[in-house]
């Protein structure tokens, strides 16, 4: 074995570039996988940070459905006999410099809040009504020190705070500032209100016995589940990207290791000739793979942690915007997570080289000529396997409606394609060779094709990576166009009025509706009812009704039934989630009792993954005794409207009112959309980077393998410049072939993501679209990348003195 290890070591010492490439491929794949796993954790585990820090991990929480909790609830509970430790919290979202922060108003003397505050901080919170305590990482991110002022915004208002700290608290309080509850209530004019009360898990029964039924009590697990459900679609997409990156990374490893095998065919044959058994050779190669993959995976874990730390912001922003959840600003790696990723990655690497091992075992003793490996004649079986996988993928998609199954099908399809891609690529290269205009490119391609066994893994990796990046881009662009259409159609009013704090009172609504220049108004009130479903109460004039796109049901009939209060209309995600169809009955538990409604129609909606039930507003107000509105749509009377005067008059009614034009609402919606998909773009770019590593490693390997041929050509008079051109032609040809193969696949991925994954992950469907811009960009870009990727191998190859290369054998 010592001899074998020596041989291994000598080889890597002579070819450090190979080692670096193998490590780089493994590290890059594992890095993306690790980064994704860490970011996923941010989306599930830590969303409940406020409760975790203030009341412990397993607290139960009392909330009022759809609104703030009256502080008298806390008072009654706290004074009741046998009261458990109760933690009252008032939470206020604010913005600072485009960043979201939460102000948590706590009573440091109630429940669990006490242990958080060292005496000096406690004193400071009580001394100054604008004091807000932050942990060290929050202070660092805000670029502030304790004692500095901080001006935050609440809608149009600004609020002056003074930072104190640092709070000795971990990331659960990232971007959360603690204030005394009295100070916060006063500062944001929310006297009498609490957001929730936390209590120890054991107190659940005690609380239930003393609380009105309309108040909710949720366990920590329920809250975490809810947070996890909210971000399910996002997490599923991230996971898929992580696995794909690992798969592409494995192709790099496979390609490098298979090349290493070729390089060492000769020395392995000699070893066999001196009596080393094939089992030992296999063991040596396995050990080698394990060491390279293990080390590469360790590097990948480190890079992935750094990557996640810098990308987590791309995930936090949309999570806050879409779900109102404040995720921690940093990732929290754990030993089990690291170990899990490492084992999966190294195991996958060992599996991926098992095919190579078979080849190594078959090296007969003493066969020392480095002949190009014989065509294995396995093309037919691999084609059959490929089509089998594709067929299985199709069957799987239709077998179940679940999201994980859809992802499994996607992976089966990608696997099938990975088997098919090399063959398609090679055929494309032969076609390119035939139509190549000049002798040099044609010869370059011919040489490339002669070593086709080496370029096959590279072709698969490259085309897969390119197709994924492009398919993803197409899906995002198609989705964006769909959202744009939807919002454009939905926004019928000329402008919208909201209150920067809370909802619009009925009196305010009446006064706005009576302003000169207003023809008519629409209104919306969005609440989450006791059972967690989202209800939206609409006052909709006929023009507003026309803004809905109906996916099922008759618009006119539905409008009549909706206004009559006998029917509701529901959003597509709800219809899909609860399997509801037009004509089905749906029950709502109202304070006035349970009431049945008929589903009159299903509308397209990208606003909520949970789904929404839309109810005629007068009926809602009657059933739920809630006369407030969240927003008001204003339909102008062009003859009498004076927009500047309108804004003035609104301000006179209440300075808290905000008037937003139609176009501004649309732009805001699209801006949120764009921020949501920034993480997808980032991951697509990373996959592309791994693809480039795959390309370079394959070409370098190929170049080194063919160095004798190149030496011959040089000896025959090929100049160094022309040799460079030859190599660059090969890389460009390879990249172009991979890109061409990727085109149909990227379209297939786009369709799969848009038509299968999106509806299953989020509940909404996307209209079929063909945004071909990414394809148009990818082809020339791949060609340029191919050209650039050829420069290094060309330089390496060109630098060699041909004489020793020729003499070697």
């Amino acid at each position: 074995m010592r001899l074998l290890l020596q041989s291994s070591r000598r080889f890597f010492r002579r070819h450090p570039g190979q080692l670096v490439l193998a490590l780089a491929g493994m590290a890059a794949g594992v890095a993306v996988m690790t980064g994704v796993a860490l970011m996923r954790d941010v989306l599930i585990e830590s969303l409940d940070g406020a409760a975790e820090a203030l009341a412990g991990r397993d607290s139960v929480r009392v909330t009022a459905a759809g609104g703030p909790l009256d502080e008298s609830v806390f008072r009654a509970l706290a004074l009741a006999e046998g009261a458990p430790p109760l933690t009252p919290v008032l939470m206020q979202r604010v913005a600072f410099d485009g960043r979201r922060l939460e102000l948590l108003g706590i009573d440091p003397f109630s429940g669990g809040g006490r242990g958080l505050l060292p005496p000096d901080l406690l004193g400071q919170l009580f001394e100054s009504p604008i004091a807000a305590a932050a942990n060290a990482s929050t202070l660092a991110r805000l670029d502030r020190a304790a004692g500095d002022p901080l001006t935050v915004r609440i809608g149009d208002r600004s609020l002056q705070l003074e930072l104190v700290g640092p709070l000795p608290a971990g990331q659960a309080l990232d971007d959360r500032l603690l204030m005394d509850i009295a100070a916060l209530q006063d500062a944001v004019d929310r006297q009498g209100q609490l957001s929730w009360i936390d209590a120890p898990a054991e107190a659940r029964e005690w609380l239930r016995a003393r609380l009105r039924d309309s108040l909710q009590i949720d366990s920590a697990a329920q809250r975490r589940d809810a947070a996890a459900r909210l971000t399910e679609g996002m997490r599923a997409n991230l996971t898929a990207m992580g696995l794909i990156s690992l798969a592409v990374g494995l192709f790099v490893i496979f390609s490098v290791l298979s090349f290493l095998l070729v390089q060492r065919r000769r020395s392995l044959a000699i070893l066999r000739a001196v009596g080393v058994t094939s089992a030992r050779v296999t063991a040596m190669l396995l050990l080698e793979t394990a060491v390279v993959a293990g080390l590469g995976a360790l590097i990948g874990l480190v890079l992935g942690t750094l990557l996640a730390d810098s990308l987590v912001g791309l995930v936090r922003v949309p999570v806050a915007e879409l779900y109102g959840l404040l995720a921690p600003a940093g990732v929290q790696p754990s030993a089990p997570l690291y170990a899990g990723v490492w084992i999966v990655a190294v195991g996958a690497a060992l599996l991926s080289v098992s095919g190579l091992l078979r080849e190594a075992r078959r090296i007969p003793p003493g066969r020392i000529l480095r002949l190009p490996p014989a065509d294995s004649g396995q093309r037919l079986p691999s084609a059959i396997a490929a089509f089998g996988l594709l067929a299985l993928a199709v069957v799987t998609v239709f077998a179940s409606r679940s999201l994980p199954v859809a992802f499994a099908a996607l992976f089966l399809a990608l696997g099938g394609f990975a088997l098919l891609a090399p063959e398609l690529g090679v055929r494309l290269l032969s076609a390119l060779r035939r139509i190549a205009p000049r002798r040099l490119p044609a010869r370059a391609l011919a040489l490339l094709l002669a070593g086709q066994k080496r370029i096959r893994p590279a072709l698969a990796a490259l085309s897969l990576a390119l197709a994924l990046a492009v398919g993803l881009a197409m899906m995002v662009l198609g989705f964006r166009a769909a959202v744009d259409d939807w919002i454009d159609r939905l926004l019928r009013a000329d402008s919208y009025v909201t209150a920067s704090q809370g909802a619009l009172a009925p009196a305010t609504v009446d006064r706005i509706a009576g302003l000169p220049g207003i023809d008519t108004t629409s209104s919306a009130r969005r609440v989450t009812v006791d059972d967690g479903r989202q209800l939206i109460a609409y006052d909709l004039p006929p023009r507003a009704w026309k803004g809905f796109e109906w996916l099922a049901g008759d618009s006119e009939a539905a409008y009549t039934a909706f206004r009559a209060g006998t029917a509701v209309v529901i959003s597509e995600p709800l219809a899909r989630r609860d399997r509801l169809e037009v004509g089905d009955e749906l029950r709502l538990d109202t304070p006035a009792g349970s009431r049945p409604f008929r589903v009159a129609a299903v509308y397209r909606d990208y606003a909520s993954e949970r789904g929404t039930i839309a109810l005629h507003a007068p009926l809602y107000r009657q059933l739920y005794d809630d006369r407030r509105r969240d927003s008001l749509g204003l339909y102008y009377d062009p003859a009498t409207l004076d927009e500047a005067a309108l804004a003035e008059r609104l301000r006179a009614i209440d300075p808290d009112l905000q008037l937003t034009g139609r176009e501004a609402v649309r732009e805001t919606t699209l801006a949120v959309f764009d921020r949501t998909f920034r993480i997808s773009w980032a991951l697509a770019a990373l996959v592309a980077v791994i693809a480039v590593i795959a390309l370079v490693s394959a070409l370098l390997a190929l170049g080194l393998e063919r160095r004798r041929d190149y030496a011959t050509l040089r000896a025959l008079g090929l100049t160094r410049g022309r040799l460079h051109a030859l190599v660059v032609c090969q890389t460009a040809g390879l990249a172009l072939a991979a890109a061409l193969v990727a085109v149909p696949l990227s379209i297939a991925i786009h369709l799969g993501l848009s038509l299968v994954i999106q509806p299953r992950a989020f509940g909404w469907s996307l209209p079929l679209s063909w945004p071909l811009a990414p394809v148009a960009v990818m082809l020339p870009l791949a060609l340029v990348c191919g050209l650039l990727a050829g420069l290094y191998p060309a330089w390496r190859i060109g630098r060699r003195d041909p004489a020793p290369e020729l003499k070697e054998e």
Partner: protein, 371 residues
């Protein structure tokens, strides 16, 4: 070969170490509230105790806003039906906050309240303790002439005495306390000087003997009890002089009917301050004030707690004018408060120093030994 392997191993180790550092457990929040911050010198806006004032009841049972701190302090020794012995303490502390403009909110507090409930199980040698806090807002805590409370821990004044109910998770008390001595004004008609500055004083009155009966609970086990309790009431703003290190306070109920209270204020150099004082209350309710020269209190054996602090749990107390030479000994050593404030408050037995005969029992409070 070895070198390469070593290098590889070193690299792997470095990577693993970095990962291990990233995956280290997060530091837990370890900040603890200390009430001592609230016991600091009071700003000038607080009222000072500078001389005697007439006390009237029940009005002076209520809280006295304007003063920095105030307490309602019950201690006592109880017996169960099988002869088992218990000590108990129930205290409400009120710390008034600095006088600054308060936010417009029902949560705006003028004071912070702390309640301490302890039960010494003498046979089991277990000191049960529980503390609670509340802001003086929303009616969470308070004291009127008729009721002193923090959430559901409360003392209600009855025509014949007081009813105390306080239950922590694993122990609790429900006691009726009936005064068998009149209210005693400590110091000079209730004006108790503790230091040389004009404000170094408190208003201080006691009921030194209350016949007590009721029930104590430890875990799920409830026992009927009977015994004697002691009530101390005190308020002021900056009672203690700056050079004080702590105090040793004794409340002793002797079998012959005399009640003896002495406290020794310890200066930085370990000596008794000249403002140390005491009171003897006779069975007929008459009382006599003791000056620093009228008594001695000498520490004996020390008990070391887990943090290494030494607490003198045995004392020699003499009051020559009363012909008392007493040995005061903790019923058991560990009766130390480990909550927000660190002090020792426990049941003690009293014996004659010469004969060793039991003369009575009482409570001992030790402060300033763990700072």
């Amino acid at each position: 070969m070895r070198r390469d392997l070593g290098l590889l191993l070193l690299l792997a180790l470095a990577l693993v170490a970095w990962l291990g550092w990233q995956a280290r457990p997060q530091p837990a929040a370890d900040g603890r509230l200390s009430a001592s911050g609230l016991l600091n010198d009071a700003p000038e806006s607080f009222r000072q105790v500078t001389g005697p004032r007439p006390l009237s009841f029940p009005a002076d049972h209520a809280a006295h806003p304007g003063y920095r701190n105030e307490w309602w302090y019950f201690t006592g020794n109880l017996d169960g039906p099988g002869g088992e012995r218990y000590g108990f303490q129930f205290t409400l502390f009120r710390f008034e906050l600095d006088h600054a403009p308060r936010p417009d909110s029902a949560w705006s507090a003028d004071a912070v309240w702390m309640a301490h409930l302890a039960l010494s199980d003498v046979e089991g040698r277990v000191f049960h303790q529980s503390e609670r806090f509340a802001r003086g807002a929303l009616g969470l805590a308070g004291a009127t002439g008729d009721r002193w409370w923090l959430q559901d821990w409360q003392v209600a004044r009855r025509s014949d005495g007081f009813a105390l109910t306080a239950h922590a998770e694993d122990f609790g008390l429900a006691l009726e306390l009936e005064p068998v001595r009149p209210i005693v004004r400590q110091g000079e008609a209730g004006y108790s000087r503790k230091g040389p500055e004009p404000g170094n004083a408190s208003h201080y009155y006691s009921i030194t003997r209350l016949a007590t009966s009721g029930r104590v609970r430890i875990g799920d086990r409830e026992r009927p009890v009977e015994g004697l309790a002691w009530l101390d009431r005190e308020w002021g703003s900056s009672q203690l002089a700056d050079n004080l290190d702590g105090w040793d306070w004794f409340s002793l109920q002797l079998d012959d009917g005399r009640d003896v209270m002495v406290y020794r204020l310890r200066t930085d150099d370990g000596e008794a301050s000249r403002f140390s004082a005491g009171k003897v209350v006779y069975p007929d309710g008459e009382s006599r004030t003791l000056g620093p020269a009228d008594f001695t209190a000498t520490p004996g054996r020390e008990w070391r707690d887990t943090e290494g602090n030494a607490w003198p749990v045995e004392w020699a107390v003499t009051v020559p004018s009363e012909d008392l030479s007493l040995e005061v000994e903790a019923r058991f050593d560990d009766q130390r408060w480990t909550g927000a404030v660190s002090y020792w408050e426990g049941a003690v037995g009293v014996r004659d120093a010469n004969s060793g005969e039991s003369l009575g029992r009482g409570y001992l409070e030790l402060s300033g030994y763990a700072e």
